[in-house]
Protein backbone atom coordinates (compact mmCIF):
# COMPACT_ATOMS: atom_id res chain seq x y z
CA UNK A 1 0.00 0.00 0.00
CA UNK A 2 2.78 2.41 0.95
CA UNK A 3 4.47 1.33 -2.25
CA UNK A 4 1.55 2.63 -4.28
CA UNK A 5 1.49 5.88 -2.35
CA UNK A 6 5.21 6.29 -2.95
CA UNK A 7 4.83 5.70 -6.67
CA UNK A 8 1.90 8.03 -7.15
CA UNK A 9 3.51 10.52 -4.82
CA UNK A 10 6.63 10.60 -6.94
CA UNK A 11 4.62 10.93 -10.13
CA UNK A 12 2.67 13.78 -8.60
CA UNK A 13 5.86 15.58 -7.63
CA UNK A 14 7.20 15.27 -11.14
CA UNK A 15 3.95 16.56 -12.59
CA UNK A 16 3.94 19.55 -10.29
CA UNK A 17 7.58 20.31 -11.07
CA UNK A 18 6.86 20.10 -14.78
CA UNK A 19 3.84 22.34 -14.51
CA UNK A 20 5.79 24.90 -12.50
CA UNK A 21 8.62 24.84 -15.00
CA UNK A 22 6.24 25.46 -17.86
CA UNK A 23 4.43 28.19 -15.98
CA UNK A 24 7.68 29.86 -15.01
CA UNK A 25 8.29 31.14 -18.49
CA UNK A 26 5.39 33.50 -18.10
CA UNK A 27 6.73 35.40 -15.17
CA UNK A 28 10.51 35.22 -15.63
CA UNK A 29 12.31 38.24 -17.05
CA UNK A 30 14.46 37.97 -20.14
CA UNK A 31 17.68 37.43 -18.25
CA UNK A 32 16.48 34.50 -16.16
CA UNK A 33 14.49 33.14 -19.04
CA UNK A 34 17.68 32.80 -20.97
CA UNK A 35 19.49 31.15 -18.09
CA UNK A 36 16.78 28.59 -17.51
CA UNK A 37 16.52 27.89 -21.21
CA UNK A 38 20.21 27.12 -21.07
CA UNK A 39 19.64 24.87 -18.09
CA UNK A 40 16.91 22.99 -19.94
CA UNK A 41 19.18 22.63 -22.93
CA UNK A 42 21.86 21.09 -20.76
CA UNK A 43 19.31 18.82 -19.12
CA UNK A 44 18.51 17.42 -22.55
CA UNK A 45 22.17 17.07 -23.52
CA UNK A 46 23.13 15.52 -20.19
CA UNK A 47 20.27 13.05 -20.25
CA UNK A 48 21.35 12.15 -23.76
CA UNK A 49 24.83 11.56 -22.44
CA UNK A 50 23.34 9.62 -19.54
CA UNK A 51 21.90 7.13 -21.98
CA UNK A 52 25.16 6.28 -23.71
CA UNK A 53 27.54 6.77 -20.80
CA UNK A 54 25.52 6.03 -17.68
CA UNK A 55 23.42 3.18 -19.04
CA UNK A 56 25.41 1.76 -21.91
CA UNK A 57 28.81 2.43 -20.42
CA UNK A 58 30.26 3.94 -23.57
CA UNK A 59 32.08 7.14 -22.85
CA UNK A 60 31.06 9.34 -25.72
CA UNK A 61 33.26 12.30 -25.05
CA UNK A 62 32.44 13.79 -28.41
CA UNK A 63 28.65 13.65 -28.16
CA UNK A 64 28.76 17.33 -29.10
CA UNK A 65 28.97 15.97 -32.63
CA UNK A 66 25.23 15.34 -32.45
CA UNK A 67 24.60 18.80 -31.07
CA UNK A 68 26.46 20.39 -33.94
CA UNK A 69 24.76 18.15 -36.47
CA UNK A 70 21.41 19.03 -34.96
CA UNK A 71 22.19 22.73 -35.04
CA UNK A 72 23.35 22.70 -38.63
CA UNK A 73 20.57 20.39 -39.73
CA UNK A 74 17.90 22.64 -38.31
CA UNK A 75 19.60 25.79 -39.56
CA UNK A 76 19.84 24.49 -43.11
CA UNK A 77 16.28 23.18 -43.14
CA UNK A 78 14.83 26.39 -41.72
CA UNK A 79 16.82 28.47 -44.17
CA UNK A 80 15.51 26.23 -46.92
CA UNK A 81 12.00 27.18 -45.90
CA UNK A 82 10.86 24.25 -43.79
CA UNK A 83 8.48 25.08 -40.93
CA UNK A 84 10.06 24.94 -37.50
CA UNK A 85 8.39 21.74 -36.35
CA UNK A 86 9.46 19.90 -39.49
CA UNK A 87 13.01 21.19 -39.29
CA UNK A 88 13.32 20.05 -35.68
CA UNK A 89 11.82 16.70 -36.48
CA UNK A 90 14.14 16.30 -39.43
CA UNK A 91 17.26 17.21 -37.52
CA UNK A 92 16.32 14.92 -34.65
CA UNK A 93 15.97 12.07 -37.08
CA UNK A 94 19.30 13.14 -38.54
CA UNK A 95 20.95 12.70 -35.17
CA UNK A 96 19.53 9.23 -34.84
CA UNK A 97 20.61 8.40 -38.36
CA UNK A 98 24.18 9.50 -37.68
CA UNK A 99 24.32 7.19 -34.67
CA UNK A 100 22.83 4.37 -36.71
CA UNK A 101 25.50 4.76 -39.40
CA UNK A 102 28.52 5.27 -37.17
CA UNK A 103 27.42 3.11 -34.27
CA UNK A 104 28.27 -0.32 -35.69
CA UNK A 105 31.91 0.48 -36.50
CA UNK A 106 32.61 2.81 -33.58
CA UNK A 107 30.80 0.94 -30.84
CA UNK A 108 33.04 -2.04 -31.43
CA UNK A 109 35.82 0.01 -29.86
CA UNK A 110 36.20 -0.14 -26.17
CA UNK A 111 37.03 2.29 -23.41
CA UNK A 112 39.68 4.83 -24.42
CA UNK A 113 39.40 4.11 -28.09
CA UNK A 114 35.70 4.82 -28.30
CA UNK A 115 36.08 8.05 -26.31
CA UNK A 116 38.74 9.30 -28.66
CA UNK A 117 36.96 8.17 -31.76
CA UNK A 118 34.00 10.31 -30.78
CA UNK A 119 36.26 13.30 -30.19
CA UNK A 120 37.77 12.75 -33.60
CA UNK A 121 34.30 12.38 -35.05
CA UNK A 122 33.26 15.69 -33.54
CA UNK A 123 36.29 17.45 -34.96
CA UNK A 124 35.95 15.72 -38.32
CA UNK A 125 32.33 16.78 -38.71
CA UNK A 126 33.26 20.34 -37.82
CA UNK A 127 36.00 20.33 -40.42
CA UNK A 128 33.72 18.76 -42.98
CA UNK A 129 31.14 21.47 -42.59
CA UNK A 130 33.83 24.10 -42.66
CA UNK A 131 35.28 22.80 -45.89
CA UNK A 132 32.13 21.94 -47.79
CA UNK A 133 31.03 25.54 -47.59
CA UNK A 134 28.17 26.48 -49.85
CA UNK A 135 24.92 25.80 -48.12
CA UNK A 136 26.67 24.82 -44.90
CA UNK A 137 27.98 28.33 -44.69
CA UNK A 138 31.56 27.21 -44.28
CA UNK A 139 33.59 29.58 -42.16
CA UNK A 140 30.89 32.23 -42.40
CA UNK A 141 28.37 30.15 -40.53
CA UNK A 142 24.65 30.24 -41.12
CA UNK A 143 22.32 33.13 -40.38
CA UNK A 144 18.79 32.00 -39.77
CA UNK A 145 15.90 34.11 -41.00
CA UNK A 146 14.82 36.68 -38.41
CA UNK A 147 11.63 35.82 -36.63
CA UNK A 148 8.83 38.39 -36.61
CA UNK A 149 7.79 37.45 -33.09
CA UNK A 150 8.46 39.85 -30.24
CA UNK A 151 11.60 39.01 -28.27
CA UNK A 152 9.75 37.87 -25.20
CA UNK A 153 7.41 35.69 -27.20
CA UNK A 154 10.35 34.18 -29.04
CA UNK A 155 12.23 33.48 -25.83
CA UNK A 156 9.16 31.84 -24.37
CA UNK A 157 8.72 29.69 -27.41
CA UNK A 158 12.34 28.60 -27.26
CA UNK A 159 12.03 27.95 -23.54
CA UNK A 160 9.04 25.71 -24.10
CA UNK A 161 10.73 23.92 -26.98
CA UNK A 162 13.76 23.25 -24.81
CA UNK A 163 11.49 22.10 -22.04
CA UNK A 164 9.95 19.64 -24.45
CA UNK A 165 13.39 18.30 -25.26
CA UNK A 166 14.43 18.08 -21.64
CA UNK A 167 11.18 16.38 -20.69
CA UNK A 168 11.40 13.89 -23.54
CA UNK A 169 15.02 13.10 -22.70
CA UNK A 170 14.16 12.59 -19.04
CA UNK A 171 11.24 10.36 -19.95
CA UNK A 172 13.52 8.28 -22.14
CA UNK A 173 15.94 7.84 -19.25
CA UNK A 174 13.07 6.97 -16.95
CA UNK A 175 11.84 4.41 -19.44
CA UNK A 176 15.33 2.95 -19.68
CA UNK A 177 15.52 2.57 -15.93
CA UNK A 178 12.61 0.17 -15.84
CA UNK A 179 11.99 -1.31 -19.25
CA UNK A 180 13.11 -4.55 -20.88
CA UNK A 181 15.24 -2.59 -23.31
CA UNK A 182 16.80 -0.71 -20.42
CA UNK A 183 17.73 -3.99 -18.79
CA UNK A 184 19.31 -5.15 -22.02
CA UNK A 185 21.43 -1.99 -22.14
CA UNK A 186 22.50 -2.27 -18.51
CA UNK A 187 23.26 -5.96 -18.84
CA UNK A 188 25.40 -5.31 -21.92
CA UNK A 189 27.34 -2.76 -19.94
CA UNK A 190 27.90 -4.94 -16.87
CA UNK A 191 28.98 -8.07 -18.66
CA UNK A 192 29.23 -8.25 -22.43
CA UNK A 193 29.70 -12.01 -22.58
CA UNK A 194 27.07 -12.66 -19.95
CA UNK A 195 24.55 -10.57 -21.85
CA UNK A 196 25.30 -12.33 -25.11
CA UNK A 197 25.00 -15.72 -23.44
CA UNK A 198 21.52 -14.68 -22.36
CA UNK A 199 20.25 -13.84 -25.76
CA UNK A 200 20.95 -10.11 -25.93
CA UNK A 201 22.29 -8.73 -29.19
CA UNK A 202 24.67 -6.34 -27.48
CA UNK A 203 25.73 -4.49 -30.62
CA UNK A 204 22.17 -3.76 -31.69
CA UNK A 205 21.25 -2.68 -28.19
CA UNK A 206 24.14 -0.25 -28.02
CA UNK A 207 23.49 1.25 -31.38
CA UNK A 208 19.88 1.79 -30.38
CA UNK A 209 20.99 3.49 -27.18
CA UNK A 210 23.31 5.78 -29.11
CA UNK A 211 20.51 6.58 -31.50
CA UNK A 212 18.38 7.75 -28.60
CA UNK A 213 21.28 9.74 -27.26
CA UNK A 214 22.02 11.28 -30.64
CA UNK A 215 18.40 12.14 -31.28
CA UNK A 216 17.82 14.15 -28.10
CA UNK A 217 21.19 15.87 -28.40
CA UNK A 218 20.47 16.80 -32.00
CA UNK A 219 17.08 18.16 -30.99
CA UNK A 220 18.75 20.36 -28.37
CA UNK A 221 21.17 21.58 -31.03
CA UNK A 222 18.32 22.33 -33.39
CA UNK A 223 16.42 24.43 -30.89
CA UNK A 224 19.66 26.19 -29.96
CA UNK A 225 20.25 27.15 -33.58
CA UNK A 226 16.74 28.58 -33.79
CA UNK A 227 17.35 30.39 -30.53
CA UNK A 228 20.63 32.16 -31.18
CA UNK A 229 19.85 32.71 -34.82
CA UNK A 230 23.43 32.58 -36.03
CA UNK A 231 25.60 29.49 -35.82
CA UNK A 232 29.11 28.67 -36.76
CA UNK A 233 31.28 25.61 -36.51
CA UNK A 234 33.34 26.60 -33.50
CA UNK A 235 30.47 26.96 -31.09
CA UNK A 236 28.22 24.27 -32.55
CA UNK A 237 30.84 21.56 -32.26
CA UNK A 238 32.48 22.90 -29.15
CA UNK A 239 34.03 20.14 -27.11
CA UNK A 240 33.42 21.99 -23.86
CA UNK A 241 29.75 21.27 -24.42
CA UNK A 242 30.51 17.60 -23.99
CA UNK A 243 32.74 18.26 -21.03
CA UNK A 244 30.19 20.42 -19.23
CA UNK A 245 27.52 17.81 -19.80
CA UNK A 246 29.86 15.16 -18.54
CA UNK A 247 30.60 17.12 -15.38
CA UNK A 248 26.88 17.62 -14.85
CA UNK A 249 26.37 13.90 -15.30
CA UNK A 250 29.15 13.15 -12.86
CA UNK A 251 27.74 15.46 -10.26
CA UNK A 252 24.21 14.29 -10.63
CA UNK A 253 25.06 10.64 -10.87
CA UNK A 254 25.24 8.39 -13.89
CA UNK A 255 22.29 6.16 -14.54
CA UNK A 256 19.96 8.19 -12.35
CA UNK A 257 16.85 9.86 -13.71
CA UNK A 258 16.81 13.06 -11.67
CA UNK A 259 20.58 13.40 -11.28
CA UNK A 260 21.31 15.05 -14.63
CA UNK A 261 18.56 17.58 -14.01
CA UNK A 262 20.04 18.62 -10.69
CA UNK A 263 23.55 18.51 -12.05
CA UNK A 264 22.64 20.65 -15.04
CA UNK A 265 20.74 23.20 -12.96
CA UNK A 266 23.43 23.52 -10.34
CA UNK A 267 26.33 23.70 -12.73
CA UNK A 268 24.77 26.03 -15.28
CA UNK A 269 23.54 28.50 -12.68
CA UNK A 270 26.91 28.38 -11.01
CA UNK A 271 28.71 28.87 -14.31
CA UNK A 272 26.51 31.87 -15.10
CA UNK A 273 27.18 33.46 -11.74
CA UNK A 274 30.89 32.82 -12.15
CA UNK A 275 30.82 34.36 -15.60
CA UNK A 276 29.09 37.47 -14.36
CA UNK A 277 31.56 37.82 -11.50
CA UNK A 278 34.78 36.95 -13.28
CA UNK A 279 34.04 37.78 -16.87
CA UNK A 280 37.45 37.58 -18.45
CA UNK A 281 38.85 34.75 -16.40
CA UNK A 282 35.71 32.64 -16.50
CA UNK A 283 37.41 29.84 -18.35
CA UNK A 284 39.93 29.61 -15.59
CA UNK A 285 37.20 29.41 -12.97
CA UNK A 286 35.41 26.81 -15.04
CA UNK A 287 38.61 24.83 -15.18
CA UNK A 288 39.05 25.05 -11.44
CA UNK A 289 35.44 24.00 -10.95
CA UNK A 290 35.87 21.03 -13.23
CA UNK A 291 38.98 19.94 -11.36
CA UNK A 292 37.22 20.36 -8.04
CA UNK A 293 34.27 18.22 -9.08
CA UNK A 294 36.47 15.46 -10.41
CA UNK A 295 38.68 15.43 -7.36
CA UNK A 296 36.04 15.72 -4.67
CA UNK A 297 32.73 14.37 -5.90
CA UNK A 298 33.61 11.95 -8.70
CA UNK A 299 30.79 9.58 -7.84
CA UNK A 300 28.27 12.34 -7.93
CA UNK A 301 25.95 13.29 -5.16
CA UNK A 302 22.67 11.57 -5.98
CA UNK A 303 23.64 7.93 -6.13
CA UNK A 304 25.65 7.80 -2.91
CA UNK A 305 22.78 9.64 -1.19
CA UNK A 306 20.23 7.21 -2.47
CA UNK A 307 22.30 4.19 -1.47
CA UNK A 308 22.74 5.68 1.97
CA UNK A 309 19.01 6.11 2.43
CA UNK A 310 18.26 2.69 0.99
CA UNK A 311 20.64 1.07 3.39
CA UNK A 312 19.11 2.85 6.35
CA UNK A 313 15.70 1.75 5.22
CA UNK A 314 16.64 -1.92 4.81
CA UNK A 315 18.31 -1.99 8.18
CA UNK A 316 15.12 -0.63 9.68
CA UNK A 317 13.09 -3.36 8.03
CA UNK A 318 15.27 -6.16 9.31
CA UNK A 319 14.79 -4.85 12.81
Amino acid sequence: MTHKIKRYGAALLWAVAAALTIAACFWLDNYWLRIWTSVLMYVAITQGLNVIVGFAGYHSFGNAAFFGTGAYGAAMLITAGWPLWAALLGTTAGGALLALLLGPPLLRLKGHYFAIATVALNAALAELILNVGGWTGGAQGISLPMSDMSPIALYRQVYLLMFGGAAAATLIVFWLSRSRFGYAVRASKDSEDGAKAMGINTTAVRVAAWMLSGAVTAYAGGVWAYWINFIEVGSAFDVSLSVKAYIMLLMGGMGSVVGPILGAAFFEVLATLVWSKFGALHNLMLGVLVCAVVLFVPRGVIIPMRRYFARRKSVGRAV
Partner: protein, 290 residues
Protein backbone atom coordinates in the same frame (compact mmCIF):
# COMPACT_ATOMS: atom_id res chain seq x y z
CA UNK B 1 56.83 19.10 -56.55
CA UNK B 2 56.30 15.60 -55.30
CA UNK B 3 59.64 15.55 -53.56
CA UNK B 4 58.98 18.93 -52.00
CA UNK B 5 55.72 17.66 -50.57
CA UNK B 6 57.46 14.70 -49.03
CA UNK B 7 60.23 16.80 -47.56
CA UNK B 8 57.76 19.28 -46.10
CA UNK B 9 55.76 16.52 -44.54
CA UNK B 10 58.73 14.69 -43.08
CA UNK B 11 60.34 17.76 -41.59
CA UNK B 12 57.18 18.80 -39.84
CA UNK B 13 56.42 15.22 -38.89
CA UNK B 14 59.56 15.02 -36.80
CA UNK B 15 58.38 17.86 -34.61
CA UNK B 16 54.89 16.40 -34.37
CA UNK B 17 56.39 13.12 -33.29
CA UNK B 18 58.44 14.76 -30.57
CA UNK B 19 55.37 16.62 -29.37
CA UNK B 20 53.48 13.34 -29.17
CA UNK B 21 55.94 11.10 -27.33
CA UNK B 22 55.09 12.47 -23.90
CA UNK B 23 51.35 12.20 -24.45
CA UNK B 24 51.65 8.68 -25.74
CA UNK B 25 53.86 7.48 -22.91
CA UNK B 26 51.67 9.03 -20.23
CA UNK B 27 48.67 7.31 -21.74
CA UNK B 28 50.47 4.02 -22.06
CA UNK B 29 52.04 4.04 -18.62
CA UNK B 30 49.22 5.51 -16.57
CA UNK B 31 46.16 5.18 -18.70
CA UNK B 32 45.69 8.92 -18.50
CA UNK B 33 44.70 10.96 -21.53
CA UNK B 34 46.27 14.29 -20.69
CA UNK B 35 44.34 17.02 -22.46
CA UNK B 36 46.63 19.57 -20.87
CA UNK B 37 49.50 18.25 -22.97
CA UNK B 38 48.75 20.89 -25.57
CA UNK B 39 49.23 23.52 -22.90
CA UNK B 40 52.70 22.13 -22.21
CA UNK B 41 53.58 22.66 -25.85
CA UNK B 42 52.14 26.15 -25.66
CA UNK B 43 54.14 27.00 -22.57
CA UNK B 44 57.31 25.79 -24.25
CA UNK B 45 56.51 28.04 -27.18
CA UNK B 46 56.02 31.05 -24.93
CA UNK B 47 59.30 30.37 -23.18
CA UNK B 48 61.00 30.57 -26.55
CA UNK B 49 59.08 33.73 -27.43
CA UNK B 50 59.96 35.52 -24.21
CA UNK B 51 63.56 34.30 -24.28
CA UNK B 52 64.02 35.59 -27.79
CA UNK B 53 62.06 38.83 -27.71
CA UNK B 54 63.12 39.93 -24.23
CA UNK B 55 66.59 38.43 -23.89
CA UNK B 56 67.72 37.69 -27.39
CA UNK B 57 68.23 34.01 -26.66
CA UNK B 58 68.00 31.83 -29.71
CA UNK B 59 65.00 29.45 -29.56
CA UNK B 60 67.21 26.41 -29.99
CA UNK B 61 69.17 27.57 -26.96
CA UNK B 62 65.96 28.06 -25.04
CA UNK B 63 65.11 24.39 -25.38
CA UNK B 64 67.00 23.17 -22.31
CA UNK B 65 65.34 25.86 -20.21
CA UNK B 66 61.91 24.99 -21.55
CA UNK B 67 62.51 21.32 -20.90
CA UNK B 68 63.55 21.98 -17.33
CA UNK B 69 60.58 24.21 -16.60
CA UNK B 70 58.09 21.88 -18.17
CA UNK B 71 59.56 18.86 -16.44
CA UNK B 72 58.79 20.49 -13.12
CA UNK B 73 55.31 21.52 -14.20
CA UNK B 74 54.47 18.09 -15.55
CA UNK B 75 55.90 16.36 -12.52
CA UNK B 76 53.96 18.51 -10.07
CA UNK B 77 50.66 18.28 -11.92
CA UNK B 78 50.97 14.52 -12.08
CA UNK B 79 52.06 14.13 -8.50
CA UNK B 80 49.44 16.34 -6.92
CA UNK B 81 46.48 16.26 -9.26
CA UNK B 82 46.49 13.41 -11.68
CA UNK B 83 47.68 10.70 -9.30
CA UNK B 84 44.32 11.02 -7.54
CA UNK B 85 42.33 9.95 -10.53
CA UNK B 86 44.54 7.09 -11.58
CA UNK B 87 42.38 4.34 -10.26
CA UNK B 88 39.06 5.84 -11.22
CA UNK B 89 37.23 5.84 -14.50
CA UNK B 90 38.78 6.93 -17.74
CA UNK B 91 36.65 9.95 -18.26
CA UNK B 92 37.52 11.45 -14.92
CA UNK B 93 41.09 11.89 -16.08
CA UNK B 94 39.85 13.40 -19.31
CA UNK B 95 37.64 15.83 -17.42
CA UNK B 96 40.38 16.69 -14.92
CA UNK B 97 43.01 17.33 -17.56
CA UNK B 98 40.49 19.33 -19.51
CA UNK B 99 40.03 21.49 -16.44
CA UNK B 100 43.78 21.86 -16.00
CA UNK B 101 44.09 22.81 -19.63
CA UNK B 102 41.41 25.47 -19.25
CA UNK B 103 43.23 26.93 -16.28
CA UNK B 104 46.64 26.97 -17.97
CA UNK B 105 45.36 28.44 -21.21
CA UNK B 106 43.38 31.13 -19.44
CA UNK B 107 46.38 32.04 -17.31
CA UNK B 108 48.34 32.73 -20.45
CA UNK B 109 45.45 34.60 -22.01
CA UNK B 110 45.44 36.78 -18.93
CA UNK B 111 49.20 37.21 -19.01
CA UNK B 112 49.90 37.52 -22.71
CA UNK B 113 46.50 38.24 -24.26
CA UNK B 114 45.36 36.26 -27.27
CA UNK B 115 47.54 38.24 -29.66
CA UNK B 116 49.77 36.23 -31.89
CA UNK B 117 53.46 36.32 -31.16
CA UNK B 118 56.26 35.05 -33.28
CA UNK B 119 59.92 34.38 -33.20
CA UNK B 120 61.83 35.78 -36.14
CA UNK B 121 65.40 34.66 -36.12
CA UNK B 122 67.98 35.96 -38.54
CA UNK B 123 68.26 32.62 -40.19
CA UNK B 124 64.51 32.11 -40.22
CA UNK B 125 64.14 32.20 -43.97
CA UNK B 126 67.36 30.44 -44.89
CA UNK B 127 67.03 27.26 -46.83
CA UNK B 128 69.25 24.64 -48.37
CA UNK B 129 68.49 23.59 -51.87
CA UNK B 130 69.01 20.03 -53.02
CA UNK B 131 67.93 18.93 -56.47
CA UNK B 132 65.33 21.64 -56.74
CA UNK B 133 63.85 20.87 -53.33
CA UNK B 134 63.89 23.63 -50.74
CA UNK B 135 64.80 22.55 -47.22
CA UNK B 136 64.29 25.39 -44.74
CA UNK B 137 67.13 25.45 -42.22
CA UNK B 138 64.91 25.98 -39.24
CA UNK B 139 62.71 23.02 -40.11
CA UNK B 140 65.70 20.84 -40.80
CA UNK B 141 67.32 21.81 -37.52
CA UNK B 142 64.10 21.22 -35.64
CA UNK B 143 63.51 17.83 -37.18
CA UNK B 144 67.06 16.66 -36.54
CA UNK B 145 66.95 17.89 -32.97
CA UNK B 146 63.55 16.27 -32.47
CA UNK B 147 64.95 12.94 -33.57
CA UNK B 148 67.98 13.38 -31.33
CA UNK B 149 65.82 14.09 -28.32
CA UNK B 150 63.56 11.16 -29.11
CA UNK B 151 66.56 8.91 -29.42
CA UNK B 152 67.90 10.28 -26.16
CA UNK B 153 64.65 9.48 -24.43
CA UNK B 154 64.69 6.01 -25.92
CA UNK B 155 68.20 5.57 -24.56
CA UNK B 156 67.02 6.69 -21.14
CA UNK B 157 64.07 4.30 -21.25
CA UNK B 158 66.06 1.28 -22.29
CA UNK B 159 69.22 1.82 -20.24
CA UNK B 160 68.44 3.58 -17.01
CA UNK B 161 66.72 2.05 -13.99
CA UNK B 162 64.01 4.65 -13.99
CA UNK B 163 63.48 4.20 -17.67
CA UNK B 164 63.10 0.47 -17.28
CA UNK B 165 60.64 1.06 -14.50
CA UNK B 166 58.57 3.23 -16.80
CA UNK B 167 58.55 0.62 -19.55
CA UNK B 168 57.66 -2.13 -17.13
CA UNK B 169 54.78 -0.16 -15.70
CA UNK B 170 53.52 0.52 -19.19
CA UNK B 171 53.38 -3.20 -19.88
CA UNK B 172 51.68 -4.26 -16.69
CA UNK B 173 51.01 -1.89 -13.86
CA UNK B 174 50.17 -4.43 -11.17
CA UNK B 175 53.03 -6.78 -11.82
CA UNK B 176 55.43 -3.86 -11.90
CA UNK B 177 54.33 -2.94 -8.41
CA UNK B 178 54.96 -6.43 -7.11
CA UNK B 179 58.49 -6.05 -8.38
CA UNK B 180 59.16 -3.10 -6.16
CA UNK B 181 58.63 -0.35 -8.69
CA UNK B 182 57.21 2.70 -7.01
CA UNK B 183 54.34 3.71 -9.20
CA UNK B 184 53.96 7.20 -7.79
CA UNK B 185 57.50 8.17 -8.61
CA UNK B 186 57.43 6.38 -11.94
CA UNK B 187 54.27 8.15 -12.96
CA UNK B 188 55.52 11.55 -11.93
CA UNK B 189 58.80 10.99 -13.78
CA UNK B 190 57.01 9.84 -16.90
CA UNK B 191 54.75 12.86 -16.78
CA UNK B 192 57.67 15.18 -16.22
CA UNK B 193 59.69 13.71 -19.06
CA UNK B 194 56.69 13.83 -21.36
CA UNK B 195 56.08 17.45 -20.50
CA UNK B 196 59.73 18.28 -21.07
CA UNK B 197 59.65 16.80 -24.55
CA UNK B 198 56.47 18.73 -25.24
CA UNK B 199 58.22 21.88 -24.10
CA UNK B 200 61.05 21.24 -26.51
CA UNK B 201 58.55 20.71 -29.30
CA UNK B 202 56.91 23.95 -28.26
CA UNK B 203 60.15 25.89 -28.69
CA UNK B 204 60.44 24.48 -32.17
CA UNK B 205 56.81 25.25 -32.88
CA UNK B 206 57.48 28.88 -31.96
CA UNK B 207 59.84 29.07 -34.91
CA UNK B 208 57.35 27.49 -37.29
CA UNK B 209 53.93 28.83 -36.31
CA UNK B 210 52.46 31.97 -34.79
CA UNK B 211 52.15 31.56 -31.03
CA UNK B 212 49.00 32.18 -29.04
CA UNK B 213 47.61 30.67 -25.85
CA UNK B 214 45.48 28.43 -28.07
CA UNK B 215 48.46 26.87 -29.82
CA UNK B 216 48.10 23.77 -27.71
CA UNK B 217 44.52 23.21 -28.70
CA UNK B 218 45.44 23.08 -32.35
CA UNK B 219 48.24 20.63 -31.61
CA UNK B 220 46.24 18.32 -29.38
CA UNK B 221 44.12 16.80 -32.08
CA UNK B 222 47.21 16.00 -34.12
CA UNK B 223 48.83 14.53 -31.02
CA UNK B 224 45.78 12.35 -30.42
CA UNK B 225 45.76 11.02 -33.92
CA UNK B 226 49.48 10.32 -33.96
CA UNK B 227 49.35 8.54 -30.61
CA UNK B 228 46.66 6.15 -31.70
CA UNK B 229 48.14 5.64 -35.16
CA UNK B 230 51.52 4.76 -33.74
CA UNK B 231 50.31 2.67 -30.87
CA UNK B 232 49.63 3.99 -27.41
CA UNK B 233 52.69 4.03 -25.19
CA UNK B 234 55.21 3.30 -27.90
CA UNK B 235 57.97 5.80 -28.53
CA UNK B 236 58.90 4.42 -31.92
CA UNK B 237 55.26 4.47 -32.86
CA UNK B 238 54.95 8.14 -31.99
CA UNK B 239 57.88 9.08 -34.20
CA UNK B 240 56.91 6.95 -37.16
CA UNK B 241 53.28 7.98 -36.94
CA UNK B 242 54.43 11.57 -36.57
CA UNK B 243 56.16 11.30 -39.92
CA UNK B 244 53.12 9.61 -41.41
CA UNK B 245 50.90 12.38 -40.12
CA UNK B 246 53.17 15.05 -41.52
CA UNK B 247 53.16 13.30 -44.87
CA UNK B 248 49.39 12.88 -44.93
CA UNK B 249 48.84 16.53 -44.13
CA UNK B 250 51.39 17.63 -46.65
CA UNK B 251 49.94 15.42 -49.34
CA UNK B 252 46.39 16.51 -48.60
CA UNK B 253 47.45 20.10 -48.70
CA UNK B 254 49.20 19.66 -52.02
CA UNK B 255 46.40 17.67 -53.66
CA UNK B 256 43.23 19.19 -52.27
CA UNK B 257 44.33 22.43 -50.69
CA UNK B 258 45.41 23.56 -47.27
CA UNK B 259 41.90 23.53 -45.84
CA UNK B 260 41.55 19.79 -46.22
CA UNK B 261 44.59 18.93 -44.10
CA UNK B 262 42.70 18.40 -40.90
CA UNK B 263 39.81 16.50 -42.24
CA UNK B 264 41.87 14.10 -44.31
CA UNK B 265 43.94 13.37 -41.24
CA UNK B 266 40.81 12.75 -39.19
CA UNK B 267 39.20 10.48 -41.71
CA UNK B 268 42.42 8.55 -41.97
CA UNK B 269 42.46 8.34 -38.22
CA UNK B 270 38.90 7.09 -37.87
CA UNK B 271 39.48 4.45 -40.49
CA UNK B 272 42.71 3.33 -38.85
CA UNK B 273 41.01 3.22 -35.48
CA UNK B 274 38.33 0.90 -36.74
CA UNK B 275 40.64 -1.31 -38.76
CA UNK B 276 43.62 -1.51 -36.47
CA UNK B 277 42.95 0.08 -33.11
CA UNK B 278 46.26 -0.93 -31.63
CA UNK B 279 48.15 1.23 -34.10
CA UNK B 280 51.42 0.44 -35.79
CA UNK B 281 53.48 -0.79 -32.89
CA UNK B 282 50.88 -1.32 -30.22
CA UNK B 283 50.12 -4.74 -28.88
CA UNK B 284 46.83 -6.48 -29.28
CA UNK B 285 46.07 -8.88 -26.51
CA UNK B 286 43.52 -11.61 -27.01
CA UNK B 287 40.64 -11.14 -24.68
CA UNK B 288 41.83 -7.68 -23.73
CA UNK B 289 38.91 -5.66 -22.55
CA UNK B 290 40.19 -2.10 -22.47
Amino acid sequence: MFAQTIVNGLLLGGVYGLATIGFSMVWGVMGIINLAHGAYIMIGAYIAVVAFNAFGIDPFMAIPLAMAVLFVIGFLIQRFLLNSVLKTGLLLSLALTFGVNLVLVDLFVAGFSSDLRSVRTSYGSDAIEIAGVLIPSVRLGACVLALLLAWGFHFFLSRSRHGQAILATALDREIAQTMGINPTLTYALTAGAGAALAGAAGCMAAMLFPVSPHLGNSFISAVFVITVLGGIGTLGGAIVAGFMFGLIQSAASAIWGVGTQEIVAFVFFLVALVLRPQGLFGRKYFGENT
